[in-house]
């Protein structure tokens, strides 16, 4: 039984990272219906920004902040240069462009940062402390706390600020929002910035949790976070959080009780089961088909 609780703890910290990445996917998808494949690579950029910031001697909170600002600017740049010209072209074109941007970031990463994995500097002691029968480490607690704080901040931002209101309006009906005088370009850029900042933070937290970073580190977590967003109901912010945590839990429980090699199959299997029985995800809205 303690093994079970141990895996729950591990799953919560991993899941909160997935949730942070999934938020970016879900916000962008909710507004422009684009699967932003480059999002996983923005997470990688965040991890490397944090890495270099910590190596240059900056304190951890500053490094974390930097690792949110740089990806945010990158996200905005990508949306302005690559996605904006394609806003009214077929969806698949935008999808391919997103894949292209993702490939570009990965290959630039390999070119500039070299492909070999690097150890993420150890900022916090790894010494675990015991809670009853389960062990918890500082990075795990920190990951969970930072993720929770960011999610609360995001929820408040979306609910109570004018920009947040505009984002919700865009998600509901882009054209109507535009008619009401919402500056669509600006709001889409802001959405990309917030999503990328969260992914950047997730990258640093992953570096703290599993201290090994490389230019291709974003592919799998990116894919899984997207799956998490779909499971939770794409377009729904609480859905992305729930989906992310669920994904983390399923993954660690599968590793702990079945086999680590089957982990990915189980995660994707969960996706298919959910898609078949509730295609709009757990918290997604059911869109009726109009004839």
């Amino acid at each position: 039984m303690s093994e079970f609780f141990q895996q729950i703890i591990n799953g919560l910290s991993l899941g909160s990272i997935y949730a942070l990445i999934a938020l970016g996917y879900t916000m962008v998808y909710g507004i422009i219906q684009l699967i932003n494949f480059a999002h996983g690579d923005i997470y990688m950029v965040g991890a490397f920004t944090g890495y270099f910031a910590i190596l240059s001697g900056l304190p951890f909170p500053v490094a974390l902040l930097l690792a949110m600002v740089c990806p945010a600017l990158l996200g905005m740049l990508i949306q302005r240069t690559a996605y904006k010209p394609l806003r009214y072209s077929p969806r698949i074109t935008a999808l391919i462009t997103a894949i292209g941007v993702s490939l570009l970031l990965e290959n630039l990463g390999i070119l500039v940062l070299r492909p070999d994995p690097r150890p993420f500097p150890q900022v916090f002691t790894n010494a675990p402390f015991h809670l009853g029968q389960v062990t918890v480490s500082i990075p795990q607690v920190l990951t969970f706390t930072v993720a929770l704080a960011l999610m609360v901040a995001l929820t408040l931002f979306i609910r109570y600020t004018k920009t947040g209101k505009a984002m919700r309006a865009l998600a509901q009906d882009l054209e109507a929002a535009q008619l009401m005088g919402v500056n669509v370009d600006r709001i889409i850029s802001v959405t990309f910035m917030i999503g990328s900042a969260l992914a950047g933070a997730a990258g640093v937290m992953m570096g703290v949790l599993i201290p090994r970073i490389e230019p291709l580190m974003g592919i799998m977590p990116g894919l899984k976070a997207f799956v998490a967003a779909v499971i939770g109901g794409i377009g729904s912010i609480p859905g992305a959080m729930l989906g992310g945590v669920l994904m983390g839990l399923v993954e660690t429980l599968a590793t702990g009780f079945i086999s680590s090699t089957w982990r990915d199959a189980i995660a994707f299997g969960l996706l298919i089961v959910i898609l078949l029985f509730k295609p709009s995800g757990i918290l997604g809205r059911n869109v009726r088909e109009k004839v």
Partner: protein, 339 residues
């Protein structure tokens, strides 16, 4: 039957003869080789074989994505099923002393059939989904196939499967490529193909007109999966070694790129794009480590400046060739998108 509209562009006019020229060139090499004269070395031959394999992959995915309009991101999974099935079969059957002429098509068909069965098993539940959801579900299945291959004993998991006989040569590759393209072309020109296009254009209207959409969607998926399996078999017997790593998500993306770049729904476009996208990374080798950066940048720029792909939805035909030869006679398209 297929009509060309007056929107051919310069880029398209250059690329079509390029593709046809390449086919002629391959046959010239083959003829010379038949006479015992080797002009090209193994490296170039390898690229030419890969081009043919990629053509089969791109055209079969285009049947699903472009002609029927179902976004599938799991093509590498079907390719993997075909590759592993045919490789295992030809390893097991290698001591039966069957002549290659019989054995190789047999194992390729077996690989294709199992991939088709897999397509059926995956297609029936997932094809209820639409658009992006279907894409994600097929992506999930593709990954699941890969993880299963990684965990089975018979496939030797992550260590990969070595010792596959190198049956694939230019002859076989071209034979199967031409055969596959012809079959898929004929399917799209048949009643079936019209039903596929109807589903792409408007699924609800198609259903209202009496098209059994589920049947046609699944059959398009199964046919595409079959040819992906055959291509996977060719791929495995070309390299002589396969591992689940060869069939990752990026492989599906690579195939999808060919389809989109060629133009969704344009089979000839897929052929040309498969040739270009297989050749381009090799051609860019002199750039060394900048190669993949340039490759991905080209991709993004092409998508931004020519979002409908090289050929749009149109097939290249004789008119286009004629137009290319008498340049300046009317048919000048917008010179947009030229490199």
């Amino acid at each position: 039957m297929k009509t060309m509209k007056n929107d051919s562009s310069t880029l398209k006019n250059y690329l079509l003869p390029l593709g046809l020229g390449l086919l002629v060139l391959i046959n010239l090499f083959l003829a010379l080789e038949f006479l015992g004269i080797e002009i090209i070395d193994r490296y170039y031959k390898g690229i030419l074989i890969l081009m043919q394999i990629n053509i089969i992959l791109a055209v079969s995915l285009n049947l699903i994505n472009g002609v029927t309009g179902m976004l599938s991101l799991g093509h590498a999974g079907f390719m993997a099923v075909g590759a592993y099935t045919s490789s295992l079969l030809s390893i097991f059957l290698s001591n039966m002393n069957l002549p290659e002429v019989i054995l190789f098509p047999l194992v390729l068909c077996a690989g294709g059939l199992l991939a088709a069965v897999m397509g059926l098993a995956i297609g029936i539940p997932t094809l209820r989904l639409r658009g992006d959801y279907l894409a994600i579900a097929t992506l999930g299945f593709g990954e699941i196939i890969r993880v299963v291959l990684l965990n089975l004993d018979i496939t030797r998991g992550a260590r990969g499967l070595p010792g596959i006989p190198n049956y694939t040569n230019l002859w076989w590759a071209q034979f199967f490529m031409v055969l596959s393209v012809m079959i898929i072309w004929n399917i799209t020109a048949s009643n079936h193909g019209r039903a596929f296009v109807a589903i792409r254009e408007n699924e609800i209207a198609a259903e209202a007109m009496g098209v059994n959409t589920t049947y046609y969607k699944v059959s398009s998926f199964v046919i595409g999966a079959f040819f992906a399996g055959v291509a996977g078999g060719l791929f495995a017997h070309h390299l002589g070694f396969i591992s689940p790593k060869s069939f990752e998500f990026m492989k599906s993306v690579e195939i999808l790129l060919m389809v989109v770049l060629g133009g969704l729904g344009s089979l000839t476009g897929s052929v040309v794009a498969a040739i270009v996208l297989t050749g381009l990374p090799e051609f860019l080798r002199f750039l060394q480590s900048y190669r993949m950066v340039i490759y991905s940048l080209t991709l993004v720029l092409l998508m931004i400046y020519r979002p409908q792909g090289l050929f749009g939805r149109h097939e290249a035909n004789a008119d286009l060739l004629k137009a290319w030869f008498n340049k300046g006679h009317g048919r000048s398209g917008g010179g947009k998108g030229d490199e």
